[in-house]
Amino acid sequence: MSKKISLVKLFLIFVKIGAILLGGGYVILPIMMNEFSDKRALVSHDDVIDYFALSQSLPGIIAANMSMFIGYKLHGKWGAVIAMAGVTFIPFWCIVLLASVIGSLTENSYVQGALWGVGVSVIALIMLTVREMWQKSKRGIFFYSIFILTLATLLIFKLSPIQTILLFSVLGVGYKRIREGRKI
């Protein structure tokens, strides 16, 4: 664990990253590379790419996971905590401020028009995210079976997301275990 950077400095870098992070989580990779590899040579390009891949395969928010990996690498546990606090600092106050004014704005008919459009765009965003996740996965019989079974279960039985995830993870991993067992 290198300690070439102070906790305060690390916090400030993550505050900056939180403030310039806009849109999808995928801009996080070039931002992190720029801040930690190119400008300061604290983390190598390869490590940043590794952390990015790992962050996507772990649960949770990709950008937050990645910040914590880098924080941990540079300053251990406290580095990870500082990264978490730093990256959410400005976004937190933005939301709190915006939320407090948005209520009084919704009386206005133009704002209502804008919100109507926004509602439609959120549906489009969700559909596009599904398509993106779909395209990025290796799709075989296993993928399609789990997808169809899960969707059918959700539509018919109204299970909560957690119940659904637990049920089908056990089924999926169990199936893979049995198939693997047969091969050997």
Binding site: P59, I102, G117, A124, F143, P161, T164, K176
Partner: protein, 176 residues
Amino acid sequence: MIFVHLFIEFFKIGLFSFGGGYATIPFLYHISQVYNWYSLDELTQMVAVASITPGPVGINVATYAGLKSAGILGSALATVSEMLPSLFLVIIVSKLLRKFSDNFYVKSLIETLKPISCALLTSVAIGLFTPEIKDLKAMILLGFLLLISWKSKRDPLFYILFAALVGVVLVFFKIV
């Protein structure tokens, strides 16, 4: 009591959501139905605000949902609870980096979670479809947004600002 529920619900989101910020929407959708902390209309508004303000969408939407549920303390609690599982996982995984990605169970779990996450998000798209897409205008706008992203997905910011602008223009010309 609401703080205990907030902590548990958002901790679960942090532990079980896969695939970036929008993957947390199924959980938030579930929360709106179980606890009545916010309505479905407010949920789409929250997602939009979270997408156009700086910071990771998944964290922003948690901050907003916490705020709607229990004020500023709620928003701080929701934000921290959602990231807490990641904190533990990141520390554990950092220590056993190589072993982790080669493990059979970890690999099969990740392969299984992909289709599950797709299905969860699809069910939310179906659930939100009728409340949001009420008429032909909305249908046309949705079709158009999907059409222009046929080749590649643009920045989420683009869809929200473009659709908001269309809404404002429709009001201006009294079409709504």
